[in-house]
Every structure is written in C-alpha cells, then in structure tokens.
Amino acid sequence: MTNPLNNRGRKWFEALTGSTGKVDGNPGSLMVAEANLGGEKAVFVGVAPDANARFPRTGHTEVGLEEGWYGTKNLRAVIEADKNGPKRPIITVCDSKSQAYGRREELFGIHLAAAAIIAAYADARTAGHPVIALIVGRCVSGAFLALAGQANRMIAFDDPEVLIHAMYKDAAARITRRSVAELDKLGETIVPMAYDIGSFNKLGGLHSLLKVANPDTPAKATVEQVKSALIEAIADARNSPRTLDVRLESDGAKAFRKGSIKVRELMTRQWAPS
C-alpha cells in the first residue's frame, strides 16, 4: 500500500498551487493557498491527511470540527477581503473520505461546523466568487455536502478511484438490509444508486468529467489540462446566475431529474395565491 498520507488531493493541490497550503494558525489537515490561474489570483482550499491531527477520529481526510470551523474562518476572510473589489475564484480540491464519526464530534456539534462551511461557500458564490469544486478522489457523504455541494461548477476526474456517494457500499448495504451484490445490481438500473462517476455524471450535477492521464501523478501536461478546465469553468460561472440552477437545467437533469423538474413547475404554479 502506498503512503496513505500522500493522497491525491494533496498532490493536486501542490501541483496546482506550488504550495503545501500550510498556514500558521490553521490545522495541519487544512490546505489554503493563493496561486495564479489564468492571469488572476485564485484561492485554493483542500482537506489533506494529517498524521498529527488533534482529534483522534480525524486525520485521514475527514471533514471534522477543525476542518469545518477553520475552513469557515478562512473562507469568510476571503469574502471580506474581496468585499469591495474583484472576487477571486475559490477552487476546492476535493479528496475527502467522509465526515468524522465520533462522540467528541457530536458533542461539539459537527453538524454546525459542517453547516458553517457550507454557508461560507454559499455566501462566497452569491457574493460573486466563482466557486469550483475539483473532485480528484473521494468525496463521500458529508464531505461532498461540506466541500463540493455549494460550488457554481463541479468538475470530477473520470477515473475509477473517484467516488461521489451518500454512503460507502458496505455501510449502505447493511443499513438498507441488502447485500453488496444486490446494491451493485440495483445500481445498474437505478442511476442515483450507482457508485461509478459516470453514473453520477448522468444526473446532470457535474459541469464536466475530465479524463486525466495518470491521475495519481500530476505532470506538467495534465496540470495544464486541469488548469484550462478550471479557467473555462470560472468564466462560465461568471457569466451565469449565482444559484445552483444550472444543475437542474442541464441535459442530464432533463433526462434523469424529471421528478425534480416537475416539482419545480407545479410548486411555482401553485405558489401564487389563486
């Protein structure tokens, strides 16, 4: 097994920014750095493994209390600094296994720490910062909601190691009282239950799927390829409303989110007083 502390998220963060993302005062798991991107400054954020994590239930890229609250503080500082000027793009390099599961986490209100960073991303987007989630590895459950869900545009690597899901397969099987084989079978016909990134992409939430050669080893050419994709997504976000509507207006949504679209149509019609 390769060094678990040297994960994809960290590698791509470092390749894109030329920085480790370590900031005095931040926990070791939080990466934040400013870097040039397409002729402007962009802020990169990510959650990395941390062998010295203070909280025993974190350290393997989980979004825990520190990641949530310090991430919030860093994002709020970016929004405040750009309040009266150009809004820097915010790129989140996502490779996070899940939220942290622990007693301390619940007692200290991890639900609020996660809500806080979600609110910070959403406020950044509505303030005019293009928020782009670059999903290079796992982005599961609470990690997806906390780090990627509020982005104007989500880009994922087209690779078997990339995973966006509500819950890991073995746990989902236990909770729904099915076998892993049954879950796999269901995933073949029920697209939102499938575990491959191609199926997730069908739902229309992603801006693009990016086929990158050797995604475990960023190289000069692939870094340039990813940067181009980010620059394109930033421009697209700047030319669009600051909502998440694009996900519901996509071709994928038209094919696979008919229920969502019907709810919107009927609710809008029934909302106004008759």
Partner: protein, 290 residues
Amino acid sequence: MTFTPILSDEVVALSTRRSYIELNARARAQQLLDQGTYRELLGPFDRVESPWLPMQGIVTQSDDGCVVAKGKIDGQPAVVIAMEGKFQGGSIGEVCGMKMAEAFRLARLDNEKGIPTRAVLSLESGGVRLQEANMGELVIAEIYSEMVALRKHTPLIVVIAGPTGCFGGMSLAAGLASYVVMTRQARLSMNGPEVIELEAGKDEFVASDKPFVWSVNGGAQRFATDFADVLLEDDANAVTEAVKDLFRKGQPAQLRTDKYDLFIKRLKSMDPSKQWTGEDIRNAWKAGAK
C-alpha cells in the same frame, strides 16, 4: 350544587395539553399556521411520488413524506415544510427534497419582490434516502443553498420534536437555521448512534444506551450547549407560540454558522485526546463564557 375544581393548575394544564410529537406532518403544518390559513402545495392529489422507490418494490407515499403549506403565522405570510418521520424514516429523496428546496426558493423570490414570507421547517429525518442516494445528495445541496439565501431576508426556524429526531443531511439544515426549537424527546446529530458505533466502536459510542445517546444529542443537552434556542415540553400550542415569539424577535444578533471565532476558541481550549461527556462540555463552555 356547583362543582368546584380541586385540581391544581398544573394538572389542568397537563390534561388539556395536546402532543406535537403525535401529530403527523400534515397536522404539524396545520398547527404551525394561523387557523384557517392553511393551503397545501403539491398535495397528495397531485400524485407526485418518488420515481425511484417503485423500481425497488417499495411502496410510495403520495406526498413523498414532505408536506408544504402556505398560510400565515401571526398574521404574516408564511410557508411551513413538515417532514413525516413515519415514511421511510423521514429520509430525503428527490421529490420530498425538491419540495423543500422549492418552498425555500419561492419564499426567497417573494421576499425579493417585497412580500416578506417567513419559513418554518419541522424536521423528522434520518438523513439522505439511501434508495435515491446521489439524487438525495444533489437535492440536499440545493436545499442548503436556498436556506442560506432565504435566511438573509427572514428568520428561518427549524422545529425538531421527535420521535425520529434530526440526523445526517438534515442536521446540517438545522445548523443553517436562524433558530432551532427542540423538545426533550428530540435528538439532533450529524451521525446516527448506530453509524458511529459501527465506524468507531463501543468505546466511542454505545447506540443501545438511550440515556447516553440523549446525553450527547438530546434536546436538553442541545439547549444547554446553545445548539438550540428554545427547549419545550411536548405541547403543540407551546410550539406554535415559541415559533411566533421567535419571529417577533426578528433576526438573531449573530447566526450560529458565523460563530467561528467562538468555536475555534473552544476547540483550542479543549483536550481532544481524552473522551468527553455531555456534562464535561456543558461545564467547560459555561466556564469559558465567564
């Protein structure tokens, strides 16, 4: 001969109290809105049901477990969204989640047009519906987006009554609320007790030990540690009055999700290498506030 009541006021109050917990989602929405103002949107007769459950041989419900109603609260335009804990554990699938997101979106649009529409979310939820997994994840992100946008215009109130409680994705929705109202029976937690025990072991969490579970995520503990603004007995009228009072109070001085300086200070001052109890946290935070 006239009958003279000899019951104490407390007993009389108890005998006339109506439970909120025992109300289903529709009755909860009716309870929260001013009498005679209730108008349900996308009700059962519209028959918009989960497209994904029948494919798995699971019986649908014609409101998908989520009731949305417009009306008035304290005479002001309002929308109430109530989750039904008895249908699929209050889980968030495509249709019910989208109903919630749309209710918030349309309330925001009204507010932007100068119609000050307020919103209450009555939650019973185990989190994302695993039978619609990734659809749920996408819809929940859209719910959050609209909650963050709406709460700039009006207080957004979350009520958690029990018995299901509020877990997973919807616990984060409670985190985004301007105010949280809980009963003692209610629980608020990101990860369910069974999931934590499964992931981290019995030293970390004992899911079958009910007093322990409530000492971590129960209404009384959440109120004592300021994750909830109001703690109530299970009384339907008291819930309605608490919601009205919070709207009269207006926006909170500071949203909970903006309290990063406070929480970072608390994180720095605690020793995470030892295990903590509900009482430890209460005492530490009380001492820190002095």
